[in-house]
Amino acid sequence: MIPVIFRWEPFKRSAFFVEAIKSFVINTRLPADAYTTNSQLPEHVALTEKIELKDFALGLGGAFVVYTNKKNNQFTVNVSSGICDENFIVDYTKYDEANYEVLNPDVAANYSGLYAAVAALYNFHKRKQDMFIMLRLQTASSAAKHDHYTLSYNKTSPLQLTFGYKLFYAKNKKK
Protein backbone atom coordinates (compact mmCIF):
# COMPACT_ATOMS: atom_id res chain seq x y z
CA MET A 1 0.00 0.00 0.00
CA ILE A 2 1.47 3.36 -1.05
CA PRO A 3 -0.43 6.23 0.55
CA VAL A 4 -0.27 9.65 -1.04
CA ILE A 5 -1.14 12.50 1.31
CA PHE A 6 -2.02 15.96 0.13
CA ARG A 7 -1.78 18.34 3.07
CA TRP A 8 -2.72 22.00 2.88
CA GLU A 9 -1.83 24.53 5.58
CA PRO A 10 -3.87 27.57 4.54
CA PHE A 11 -2.70 29.96 7.25
CA LYS A 12 0.96 30.75 7.81
CA ARG A 13 0.63 31.43 11.53
CA SER A 14 -1.90 28.75 12.33
CA ALA A 15 -1.41 25.07 13.01
CA PHE A 16 -4.64 24.18 11.19
CA PHE A 17 -4.43 21.92 8.13
CA VAL A 18 -6.60 20.02 5.66
CA GLU A 19 -5.50 16.56 4.50
CA ALA A 20 -6.61 14.25 1.71
CA ILE A 21 -5.29 10.69 1.51
CA LYS A 22 -5.48 8.25 -1.36
CA SER A 23 -3.72 4.91 -1.32
CA PHE A 24 -2.39 3.00 -4.26
CA VAL A 25 -2.71 -0.63 -3.30
CA ILE A 26 -1.13 -3.64 -4.91
CA ASN A 27 -3.96 -6.15 -5.37
CA THR A 28 -3.85 -9.11 -3.02
CA ARG A 29 -4.01 -12.52 -4.65
CA LEU A 30 -5.07 -15.54 -2.63
CA PRO A 31 -5.66 -19.20 -3.51
CA ALA A 32 -9.27 -20.37 -3.52
CA ASP A 33 -11.05 -23.66 -4.12
CA ALA A 34 -14.26 -24.56 -5.92
CA TYR A 35 -16.07 -27.90 -5.89
CA THR A 36 -18.81 -29.64 -7.86
CA THR A 37 -21.17 -32.60 -7.58
CA ASN A 38 -21.29 -32.92 -11.38
CA SER A 39 -19.88 -36.34 -12.28
CA GLN A 40 -18.82 -35.10 -15.74
CA LEU A 41 -16.41 -32.57 -14.24
CA PRO A 42 -13.33 -32.71 -12.00
CA GLU A 43 -14.55 -32.53 -8.40
CA HIS A 44 -12.22 -29.66 -7.49
CA VAL A 45 -10.64 -26.71 -9.27
CA ALA A 46 -8.04 -24.33 -7.82
CA LEU A 47 -8.80 -20.65 -8.35
CA THR A 48 -7.08 -17.37 -7.70
CA GLU A 49 -8.91 -14.69 -5.77
CA LYS A 50 -8.08 -11.04 -6.36
CA ILE A 51 -8.86 -8.48 -3.65
CA GLU A 52 -8.71 -4.86 -4.73
CA LEU A 53 -8.96 -1.92 -2.32
CA LYS A 54 -10.05 1.55 -3.32
CA ASP A 55 -9.91 4.11 -0.54
CA PHE A 56 -10.05 7.82 0.10
CA ALA A 57 -9.97 9.99 3.23
CA LEU A 58 -10.52 13.68 3.83
CA GLY A 59 -9.92 15.34 7.20
CA LEU A 60 -9.03 18.41 9.24
CA GLY A 61 -6.31 18.63 11.85
CA GLY A 62 -3.99 20.66 13.96
CA ALA A 63 -0.26 20.60 14.70
CA PHE A 64 1.23 21.12 18.16
CA VAL A 65 4.85 22.20 18.42
CA VAL A 66 6.71 20.06 20.93
CA TYR A 67 10.27 21.20 20.30
CA THR A 68 12.15 23.80 18.22
CA ASN A 69 15.95 24.04 18.06
CA LYS A 70 18.30 26.92 17.16
CA LYS A 71 18.26 26.03 13.44
CA ASN A 72 14.45 26.28 13.53
CA ASN A 73 14.05 22.54 13.08
CA GLN A 74 10.74 21.53 14.63
CA PHE A 75 9.21 18.46 16.15
CA THR A 76 5.40 18.56 16.05
CA VAL A 77 2.58 16.24 16.93
CA ASN A 78 -0.27 16.34 14.41
CA VAL A 79 -3.78 15.23 15.23
CA SER A 80 -6.47 14.92 12.56
CA SER A 81 -9.89 13.45 11.97
CA GLY A 82 -12.32 13.17 9.08
CA ILE A 83 -14.30 10.90 6.81
CA CYS A 84 -12.95 7.89 4.97
CA ASP A 85 -14.23 5.36 2.49
CA GLU A 86 -12.82 1.89 1.87
CA ASN A 87 -14.22 -0.20 -0.95
CA PHE A 88 -13.05 -3.82 -1.27
CA ILE A 89 -13.69 -5.49 -4.61
CA VAL A 90 -13.37 -9.28 -4.84
CA ASP A 91 -12.94 -11.19 -8.06
CA TYR A 92 -12.18 -14.84 -8.83
CA THR A 93 -10.39 -16.13 -11.90
CA LYS A 94 -12.87 -17.25 -14.52
CA TYR A 95 -14.57 -20.53 -13.59
CA ASP A 96 -17.74 -22.46 -14.39
CA GLU A 97 -20.11 -20.67 -11.96
CA ALA A 98 -23.10 -22.80 -12.99
CA ASN A 99 -21.45 -26.03 -11.85
CA TYR A 100 -18.85 -25.07 -9.23
CA GLU A 101 -19.23 -23.56 -5.75
CA VAL A 102 -16.40 -21.56 -4.20
CA LEU A 103 -15.70 -22.66 -0.62
CA ASN A 104 -15.76 -19.85 1.96
CA PRO A 105 -16.04 -17.16 -0.71
CA ASP A 106 -15.04 -13.60 0.02
CA VAL A 107 -17.49 -10.90 -0.93
CA ALA A 108 -17.17 -7.21 -1.70
CA ALA A 109 -17.60 -4.76 1.18
CA ASN A 110 -17.68 -1.02 1.65
CA TYR A 111 -16.76 0.76 4.86
CA SER A 112 -17.61 4.46 4.94
CA GLY A 113 -17.04 6.12 8.28
CA LEU A 114 -14.87 8.37 10.39
CA TYR A 115 -11.17 8.12 11.13
CA ALA A 116 -8.71 9.71 13.53
CA ALA A 117 -4.98 9.99 13.03
CA VAL A 118 -1.93 11.02 14.99
CA ALA A 119 1.44 11.81 13.44
CA ALA A 120 4.85 12.68 14.81
CA LEU A 121 6.57 15.03 12.36
CA TYR A 122 10.13 16.33 12.38
CA ASN A 123 10.68 19.31 10.11
CA PHE A 124 14.22 20.07 8.81
CA HIS A 125 14.23 23.77 8.13
CA LYS A 126 16.11 25.02 5.04
CA ARG A 127 16.04 28.48 3.55
CA LYS A 128 13.88 27.77 0.51
CA GLN A 129 12.67 24.25 1.08
CA ASP A 130 11.69 22.32 4.18
CA MET A 131 12.12 18.58 4.42
CA PHE A 132 10.27 16.42 6.88
CA ILE A 133 10.08 12.92 8.22
CA MET A 134 6.72 11.72 9.55
CA LEU A 135 5.45 8.68 11.39
CA ARG A 136 1.65 8.53 11.09
CA LEU A 137 -0.92 6.15 12.52
CA GLN A 138 -4.52 6.19 11.34
CA THR A 139 -7.41 4.32 12.91
CA ALA A 140 -9.57 1.98 10.85
CA SER A 141 -12.89 3.32 9.60
CA SER A 142 -15.55 3.57 12.29
CA ALA A 143 -18.01 1.79 9.96
CA ALA A 144 -19.26 -1.47 11.45
CA LYS A 145 -19.21 -4.77 9.60
CA HIS A 146 -22.55 -5.62 8.01
CA ASP A 147 -22.61 -9.14 9.45
CA HIS A 148 -20.48 -11.73 11.28
CA TYR A 149 -19.24 -13.45 8.11
CA THR A 150 -15.49 -14.05 8.21
CA LEU A 151 -13.59 -12.46 5.34
CA SER A 152 -9.95 -12.89 4.28
CA TYR A 153 -9.45 -9.15 4.50
CA ASN A 154 -10.15 -6.47 7.07
CA LYS A 155 -10.47 -2.73 7.29
CA THR A 156 -7.08 -1.08 7.03
CA SER A 157 -5.38 0.88 9.80
CA PRO A 158 -2.33 2.34 8.04
CA LEU A 159 0.93 2.97 9.83
CA GLN A 160 3.19 4.97 7.58
CA LEU A 161 6.67 6.41 7.61
CA THR A 162 7.05 9.25 5.14
CA PHE A 163 9.94 11.40 4.00
CA GLY A 164 9.00 14.46 1.99
CA TYR A 165 9.39 18.08 0.98
CA LYS A 166 7.20 21.03 1.81
CA LEU A 167 6.22 23.17 -1.13
CA PHE A 168 5.56 26.84 -0.45
CA TYR A 169 3.41 29.08 -2.50
CA ALA A 170 3.01 32.85 -2.35
CA LYS A 171 -0.07 34.80 -3.29
CA ASN A 172 0.51 37.49 -5.93
CA LYS A 173 -0.09 40.87 -4.45
CA LYS A 174 -2.12 43.30 -6.56
CA LYS A 175 -0.18 46.38 -7.56
Partner: protein
Protein backbone atom coordinates in the same frame (compact mmCIF):
# COMPACT_ATOMS: atom_id res chain seq x y z
CA UNK B 1 -42.82 3.94 36.27
CA UNK B 2 -40.40 5.71 33.95
CA UNK B 3 -37.62 3.27 34.85
CA UNK B 4 -39.95 0.34 34.17
CA UNK B 5 -40.61 1.69 30.67
CA UNK B 6 -36.89 2.06 30.07
CA UNK B 7 -36.34 -1.52 31.24
CA UNK B 8 -39.02 -2.77 28.90
CA UNK B 9 -37.49 -0.91 25.98
CA UNK B 10 -33.98 -2.17 26.76
CA UNK B 11 -35.11 -5.78 27.20
CA UNK B 12 -36.90 -5.87 23.86
CA UNK B 13 -33.73 -5.89 21.70
CA UNK B 14 -32.24 -8.69 23.84
CA UNK B 15 -35.35 -10.83 23.28
CA UNK B 16 -35.33 -9.97 19.59
CA UNK B 17 -31.68 -10.94 19.20
CA UNK B 18 -32.21 -14.22 21.05
CA UNK B 19 -35.10 -15.28 18.87
CA UNK B 20 -33.28 -14.26 15.71
CA UNK B 21 -30.14 -16.19 16.57
CA UNK B 22 -31.08 -18.96 14.18
CA UNK B 23 -30.82 -16.83 11.05
CA UNK B 24 -27.56 -15.11 11.95
CA UNK B 25 -25.49 -17.55 9.94
CA UNK B 26 -27.44 -17.22 6.72
CA UNK B 27 -25.10 -15.33 4.41
CA UNK B 28 -26.75 -14.93 1.00
CA UNK B 29 -25.01 -16.31 -2.05
CA UNK B 30 -25.30 -13.62 -4.73
CA UNK B 31 -24.87 -16.22 -7.50
CA UNK B 32 -27.73 -18.37 -6.19
CA UNK B 33 -30.63 -16.28 -4.82
CA UNK B 34 -32.20 -17.66 -1.65
CA UNK B 35 -29.25 -19.92 -0.82
CA UNK B 36 -26.50 -19.42 1.74
CA UNK B 37 -22.84 -19.30 0.71
CA UNK B 38 -20.91 -22.56 0.64
CA UNK B 39 -18.85 -22.47 3.84
CA UNK B 40 -16.89 -24.84 6.09
CA UNK B 41 -16.87 -22.91 9.36
CA UNK B 42 -19.49 -24.76 11.37
CA UNK B 43 -22.18 -22.13 10.68
CA UNK B 44 -24.89 -24.79 11.06
CA UNK B 45 -26.55 -23.84 7.79
CA UNK B 46 -27.76 -25.85 4.80
CA UNK B 47 -29.66 -24.73 1.75
CA UNK B 48 -30.70 -26.05 -1.66
CA UNK B 49 -33.25 -25.66 -4.43
CA UNK B 50 -36.05 -28.20 -4.51
CA UNK B 51 -38.21 -27.95 -7.62
CA UNK B 52 -36.60 -24.56 -8.17
CA UNK B 53 -37.59 -23.16 -4.76
CA UNK B 54 -34.93 -22.24 -2.22
CA UNK B 55 -35.08 -24.27 1.02
CA UNK B 56 -32.92 -23.64 4.10
CA UNK B 57 -32.54 -25.03 7.58
CA UNK B 58 -33.04 -22.20 10.02
CA UNK B 59 -29.94 -22.77 12.11
CA UNK B 60 -31.80 -23.47 15.38
CA UNK B 61 -31.89 -27.21 14.74
CA UNK B 62 -28.77 -29.33 14.59
CA UNK B 63 -28.74 -32.06 11.98
CA UNK B 64 -29.36 -35.67 12.92
CA UNK B 65 -26.33 -37.86 12.26
CA UNK B 66 -26.97 -41.35 13.54
CA UNK B 67 -26.33 -44.96 12.69
CA UNK B 68 -29.50 -47.04 12.36
CA UNK B 69 -28.87 -50.75 13.01
CA UNK B 70 -30.41 -53.45 10.89
CA UNK B 71 -30.58 -57.25 11.04
CA UNK B 72 -28.29 -57.72 8.03
CA UNK B 73 -24.57 -56.86 7.70
CA UNK B 74 -25.18 -53.30 6.49
CA UNK B 75 -26.33 -50.46 8.72
CA UNK B 76 -27.58 -47.06 7.61
CA UNK B 77 -25.97 -43.73 8.44
CA UNK B 78 -28.81 -41.24 8.57
CA UNK B 79 -27.85 -37.62 7.85
CA UNK B 80 -30.93 -35.48 8.13
CA UNK B 81 -32.03 -31.91 8.83
CA UNK B 82 -35.27 -29.92 8.82
CA UNK B 83 -36.08 -27.63 5.91
CA UNK B 84 -37.92 -24.36 5.65
CA UNK B 85 -38.87 -22.76 2.39
CA UNK B 86 -37.05 -19.47 1.99
CA UNK B 87 -40.00 -17.82 0.28
CA UNK B 88 -42.88 -17.84 2.81
CA UNK B 89 -45.45 -17.38 0.01
CA UNK B 90 -44.74 -20.99 -1.00
CA UNK B 91 -44.78 -22.46 2.52
CA UNK B 92 -47.57 -24.97 1.77
CA UNK B 93 -45.74 -26.45 -1.19
CA UNK B 94 -42.54 -26.89 0.81
CA UNK B 95 -40.67 -29.91 2.09
CA UNK B 96 -40.09 -30.19 5.84
CA UNK B 97 -36.96 -32.32 5.98
CA UNK B 98 -34.31 -34.00 3.88
CA UNK B 99 -32.52 -37.23 4.82
CA UNK B 100 -29.55 -38.96 3.22
CA UNK B 101 -29.32 -42.67 4.00
CA UNK B 102 -25.77 -43.92 3.51
CA UNK B 103 -25.22 -47.68 3.69
CA UNK B 104 -22.29 -48.32 6.06
CA UNK B 105 -20.73 -51.49 7.59
CA UNK B 106 -21.73 -52.46 11.13
CA UNK B 107 -18.22 -51.55 12.28
CA UNK B 108 -18.66 -47.91 11.11
CA UNK B 109 -17.31 -45.50 13.71
CA UNK B 110 -16.09 -41.93 14.13
CA UNK B 111 -12.77 -42.68 12.38
CA UNK B 112 -14.68 -43.92 9.33
CA UNK B 113 -16.75 -40.73 9.39
CA UNK B 114 -13.58 -38.61 9.36
CA UNK B 115 -12.42 -40.65 6.34
CA UNK B 116 -15.40 -39.21 4.42
CA UNK B 117 -13.28 -36.03 4.12
CA UNK B 118 -12.98 -35.29 0.38
CA UNK B 119 -15.21 -38.20 -0.71
CA UNK B 120 -17.84 -37.76 -3.40
CA UNK B 121 -20.62 -40.37 -3.57
CA UNK B 122 -21.91 -40.02 -7.12
CA UNK B 123 -25.61 -40.73 -7.80
CA UNK B 124 -25.64 -43.52 -5.24
CA UNK B 125 -26.99 -42.15 -1.96
CA UNK B 126 -30.66 -42.82 -1.18
CA UNK B 127 -32.40 -39.57 -0.27
CA UNK B 128 -35.87 -38.92 1.15
CA UNK B 129 -37.88 -35.72 1.28
CA UNK B 130 -40.87 -35.25 3.57
CA UNK B 131 -43.57 -32.76 2.62
CA UNK B 132 -45.93 -30.75 4.84
CA UNK B 133 -48.48 -33.62 4.85
CA UNK B 134 -45.72 -35.95 6.15
CA UNK B 135 -45.65 -37.82 2.83
CA UNK B 136 -42.18 -39.21 2.03
CA UNK B 137 -40.55 -39.19 -1.41
CA UNK B 138 -37.49 -41.34 -2.13
CA UNK B 139 -34.83 -40.82 -4.75
CA UNK B 140 -31.11 -40.85 -5.40
CA UNK B 141 -28.56 -38.16 -4.59
CA UNK B 142 -24.93 -37.22 -5.03
CA UNK B 143 -23.34 -36.30 -1.71
CA UNK B 144 -19.90 -34.73 -1.61
CA UNK B 145 -18.22 -34.40 1.79
CA UNK B 146 -15.77 -31.63 0.93
CA UNK B 147 -14.45 -31.33 4.49
CA UNK B 148 -14.94 -33.56 7.53
CA UNK B 149 -12.65 -32.59 10.39
CA UNK B 150 -12.49 -32.92 14.14
CA UNK B 151 -12.33 -29.64 16.04
CA UNK B 152 -11.78 -28.76 19.68
CA UNK B 153 -14.19 -25.95 20.38
CA UNK B 154 -15.99 -24.38 23.30
CA UNK B 155 -15.22 -25.78 26.79
CA UNK B 156 -12.81 -28.33 25.31
CA UNK B 157 -15.72 -30.21 23.74
CA UNK B 158 -14.92 -32.07 20.55
CA UNK B 159 -16.97 -31.34 17.46
CA UNK B 160 -17.06 -32.75 13.96
CA UNK B 161 -17.17 -30.04 11.33
CA UNK B 162 -18.77 -31.23 8.10
CA UNK B 163 -19.32 -29.28 4.94
CA UNK B 164 -20.22 -30.34 1.46
CA UNK B 165 -22.43 -30.25 -1.58
CA UNK B 166 -25.39 -32.32 -2.70
CA UNK B 167 -27.94 -32.68 -5.45
CA UNK B 168 -30.38 -35.36 -6.49
CA UNK B 169 -33.68 -36.25 -8.02
CA UNK B 170 -36.83 -38.08 -7.08
CA UNK B 171 -38.27 -39.49 -10.25
CA UNK B 172 -38.33 -36.86 -12.96
CA UNK B 173 -40.50 -34.37 -11.15
CA UNK B 174 -38.52 -33.42 -8.04
CA UNK B 175 -35.02 -32.09 -8.61
CA UNK B 176 -32.71 -31.14 -5.74
CA UNK B 177 -30.04 -28.74 -6.97
CA UNK B 178 -27.18 -26.59 -5.75
CA UNK B 179 -27.31 -28.05 -2.22
CA UNK B 180 -24.65 -27.09 0.31
CA UNK B 181 -24.26 -27.76 4.05
CA UNK B 182 -21.97 -26.57 6.82
CA UNK B 183 -22.51 -28.21 10.21
CA UNK B 184 -20.72 -28.54 13.52
CA UNK B 185 -21.86 -31.65 15.38
CA UNK B 186 -21.02 -32.40 19.00
CA UNK B 187 -19.22 -35.73 19.16
CA UNK B 188 -21.11 -36.68 22.32
CA UNK B 189 -24.36 -36.68 20.34
CA UNK B 190 -23.17 -39.42 17.96
CA UNK B 191 -24.40 -42.97 18.56
CA UNK B 192 -21.37 -44.62 16.95
Amino acid sequence: MKSLKALRISLFPIFFLTTCHGIWNFYPDTNDPGLSRFTSRGYNIASCYIKGKAHVNNGSFYPVLQKDSSVNSIDTLQFKWPLFVHDTANIFTAYTDIAFLLPVPKSFDKTNLLEFNGQRFLNSVPVTLTDTSQKKFSGVATLYFVTVTEALERSNRKYIKMSGLFDGHIGDSIVIAKGRFDFEIYEGSLNF
